[in-house]
């Protein structure tokens, strides 16, 4: 890193400042909430070990990057992680500020009545949380369970059967895995092996011989893509202001197109894109980003970094 770049990054650090003042009560309530949240997620999450072979990942194209340190001491890692957590916290605070009037709660905010505990339906729903994480909840009626027990015997247990229907769309001809659950109404977080998986689940009962009786089937979800799509034809459309549409032309995707995208994004963001990390930019280093942008876009004597300018302003 050149002297100028070092100066710039120092400037950014100097500039970075935001109030940390908060009432201690508020801070502790927020911390408690985060703690509770972390605990509950930890309790709920079950990582399934699958024997399936993960899909091959998109080929990572090597970008010109500064040399990265490979081995970090535990102290360094702790420092890095806490700095990233602090940064994510700071950014969340901006979004939350419009609801911040200086008090953590309102004494009048009590629900008028309680809400239904259950709806007397057989239902299972899967929701996408992110490309590798889903949430599911279910409810089955007493009578549905009794009916299942009458068919499977008294040893039958409530079971979630997940299907990976990515290959053929048919749950009955797809690989599946089971999770035994105990509650007639419940929910579950599930971590999955790869993005773009197509998934659904049955809630049913399974006896000691493996016989399964389905009570209800969920919706089908497809996990989001977390990588650049496979190369394919580029289609172009014209939509006129009055809503007329026409697909004007189709062209092949070439290496030149990928090179163009790399130039547009710059090496740093292109690298993030190819690693499937573009969605978590908030966790990346802004110092590095600004240096990267300055380096590839501008001559070194002109800086686009806010720091070089703001330090002169004071």
């Amino acid at each position: 890193m050149g002297k100028k770049a070092a100066k710039r990054s120092g400037g950014i650090r100097k500039k970075a400042a935001v109030s940390t003042r908060k009432s201690s009560k508020k801070v502790s309530s927020r911390k408690e909430a985060e703690k509770t949240k972390a605990k509950s997620v930890k309790r709920a999450v079950k990582v399934l070990k699958s024997t399936r072979t993960p899909k091959p990942r998109a080929k990572v194209i090597a970008a010109k990057r500064p040399k990265v340190k490979d081995i970090w001491s535990l102290e360094e890692l702790i420092g890095k992680v806490s700095a990233m957590e602090q940064k994510a916290h700071e950014e969340r605070r901006i979004e939350e500020s419009k609801f911040d009037i200086g008090v953590p709660h309102n004494g009048r905010a009590k629900p008028t009545f309680d809400i239904p505990h259950e709806y007397q339906v057989d239902r299972a729903v899967v929701l996408t949380i992110d490309p590798r994480f889903v949430f599911t909840y279910w409810e089955v009626k007493h009578e549905s369970m009794h009916h299942a027990v009458s068919r499977l015997g008294p040893g039958a247990k409530l079971t979630l059967r997940f299907y990976d229907i990515s290959a053929n769309g048919n749950p009955d001809a797809s690989p599946s895995w089971d999770i035994e659950v105990f509650d007639r109404l419940g929910n579950w977080y599930l971590k999955l092996d790869y993005p773009e998986q197509i998934l659904c689940l049955d809630v049913g009962m399974k006896n000691e011989f493996g016989a399964f009786h389905r009570i209800t089937r969920s919706n089908v979800i497809r996990l989001p893509r977390q990588a650049l799509a496979q190369p394919g034809p580029l289609k172009w459309m014209i939509v006129s202001p009055d809503g007329q549409k026409i697909i004007s032309d189709v062209e092949e995707y070439t290496d030149a197109d990928l090179e163009l995208l790399k130039k547009i994004l710059g090496p740093y963001f292109f690298d993030l894109l190819m690693k499937g990390q573009f969605a978590s930019i908030s966790g990346s280093s802004l110092e590095a980003i600004f240096q990267e942008i300055s380096a590839f876009r501008l001559p070194m004597e002109i800086s686009s970094s806010p720091s070089s300018w703001s330090s002169g302003a004071r």
Partner: protein, 527 residues
């Protein structure tokens, strides 16, 4: 001749908070604070630009709950009361600071001047209806006003009911048309939440463009040739504009972004907490709970509890410098991109409107300076709305964005985690029940129609993503839980009353009075 375009998008939204059953209600302050610090100052900036002949273009979403609150007579009265009380406080503050530090006195005068202007703009210039103000600039061709989900429901988590998603869009478009005189051409999807297939509902409601986060476009179903610097068409023909990560971060980041500058006003230090209780008593919550008053006299200073006095004039200079820096960066960005792309790029820079003025006190002035500098100090970048871009460049690549949001980590985790996941069981069941009754009663009598319409209101209000967001944030959680549970309970009571042929008209009248959003709603949106 310009080489590219910059499209500012301000997303103005607050959840519908209106409690006629109380004389004052704490959470109504969300709206009042945003009125004084963001919406009125923005209108004042637009007026100034217009007066000075600056040809500007901005895109702004006014969400249906916000439009409903801005046009609600009860909230208009309450805001006027809030404004006058603060004006009174500003006089007292001028007196109190007269013999103290000169910067405190200067800041007190600044607050007085701002509140005086706000009162004039609110009461006299716009007749207490700010929507009329925004509409004025829309009709002048300066402002593209777009809509949002009816109650800002996070659509990817509501999609188990197609009708529920469709109703969020349809009801929003109808309310927008009623207040702004024309159907919206664009939409700010709540939390930028997109899922595959949503474009069809948008197109069927006359929506021609929407916004997504960067990774939605980059991870779309076809490789985007120009990244996020040109819109892409979904299969139905609605255009998706991707957020520019670079310009967004420059403003959004609390630490490295502009709002974190030590010279800017500190958000947390407020006389509501600092001064003698009896002095601030009339201006805080009636039960004596200390709250922010908006009178803040210290600057960010640094990572320290010791805060230096705020200097509004110095902060203005820094805001102008930051504006210059932002313009400089966009100019270089546009010149670089146009050179590489061989066509004019469009840089889409979306922000929560309340970031400006509320969190970042000087943000509205910064925006003012940026617009003026772009108009006067350079020729490479031109401000443009997404609609104008599409009219100039109707040919674009077809890419369906991937499922995503602009929330932390880019997907749905903020709105579905251990703190708030319990709501979805209820929201989904309510959507099923709403559709069931909407299909069952095609020609109801007047009382039944009222009940069905109220059910639709309760469902929509319960779906607001703000409640899940607040439960996740850990502040004011009780209120978010109360609102969610109240709407669920009211909805289900109406459902069973209808099913049992025992409508309670007193109850219905009471909740129509309390939850009066969407007066012209038609429950058949759920058929």
């Amino acid at each position: 001749m310009e080489k590219g375009y910059l499209s500012f998008v301000l997303h103005a939204h607050l959840p519908y908070v209106r409690h006629p059953e109380y004389d004052e209600f704490l959470e109504e302050r969300w709206f009042f604070e945003a009125m004084s610090e963001t919406y009125i100052p923005l209108l004042e900036v637009f007026e100034g630009l217009d007066r000075d002949g600056i040809d500007f273009r901005l895109t702004m979403s006014l969400t249906p709950p916000l439009i409903s609150m801005m046009t609600d007579p009860l909230l208009q009265d309450r805001y006027a009361r809030y404004l006058y009380k603060h004006l009174e406080l500003s006089w007292k503050e001028i007196d109190r600071t007269r013999h103290g530090h000169h910067l405190f006195h200067r800041t007190a005068q600044m607050y007085h001047h701002r509140l005086h202007r706000a009162r004039w703009l609110f009461d006299e210039r716009w007749g207490r209806n700010l929507v009329a103000g925004f509409r004025h600039f829309m009709e002048a061709g300066k402002l593209e006003i777009i809509t949002c989900g009816a109650t800002h429901g996070f659509l990817p988590l509501l999609r188990s009911s197609h009708e529920a998603v469709r109703a969020q869009i349809e009801v929003a478009c109808n309310l927008h048309e009623k207040h702004l005189g024309r159907r919206p051409r664009g939409i700010w999807l709540p939390e930028c939440g997109y899922f595959s297939g949503l474009h069809e509902i948008l197109w069927n409601n006359g929506i021609r463009f929407f916004f997504v986060d960067s990774h939605a476009v980059l991870y779309g179903d076809s490789r985007p040739k120009y990244g996020v610097y040109a819109p892409t068409y979904t299969p139905s023909g609605v255009a998706a504009f991707g957020r520019d990560y670079e310009s967004s971060k420059q403003v959004w980041s609390a630490k490295e972004g502009y709002p974190g500058d030590p010279v800017y006003r500190d958000f947390y230090r407020d006389i509501g907490f600092d001064l003698d209780f009896n002095y601030v008593r009339p201006y805080i919550n009636p039960d004596g709970t200390r709250v922010m008053t908006g009178f803040k006299y210290h600057r960010i200073t640094g990572h320290t509890d010791h805060k230096e006095p705020y200097d509004p004039w110095h902060a203005q200079e820094v805001a102008a410098h930051h504006a210059g820096n932002f313009m400089f960066n966009r100019k270089n960005q546009v010149e670089y991109l146009s050179d590489v792309m061989g066509k004019p790029p469009i840089i889409v820079a979306p922000y929560d409107a309340e970031l400006y003025g509320h969190w970042w006190f000087e943000g509205v002035d910064w925006l003012n300076y940026v617009i003026r500098k772009i108009a006067c100090d350079q020729d490479s970048v031109k401000l443009l709305t997404p609609w104008e871009y599409l009219c100039r460049h109707p040919k674009n690549q077809m890419v369906e964005p991937s499922e995503s949001s602009w929330g932390n980590k880019g997907y749905a985790e903020v709105w579905c985690n251990g703190t708030n996941d319990w709501v979805y069981r209820h929201l989904h069941e309510m959507a099923c029940r709403m559709t069931e009754l909407a299909r069952a009663y095609a020609t109801p009598d007047d009382n039944l129609r009222r009940a069905l319409n109220q059910m639709a209101r309760e469902l929509l209000l319960a779906q607001s993503s703000d409640w899940a967001f607040i439960m996740n944030s850990g502040t004011m959680v009780e209120y978010a839980v109360k609102r969610t549970k109240d709407h669920i309970w009211r909805f289900n009571k109406l459902y069973w009353d209808i099913k049992n042929f025992s409508l309670d008209m007193n109850f219905l009248g009471e909740i129509e009075w309390k939850d009066n959003i969407f007066p012209n709603i038609d429950y058949r949106a759920y058929t």
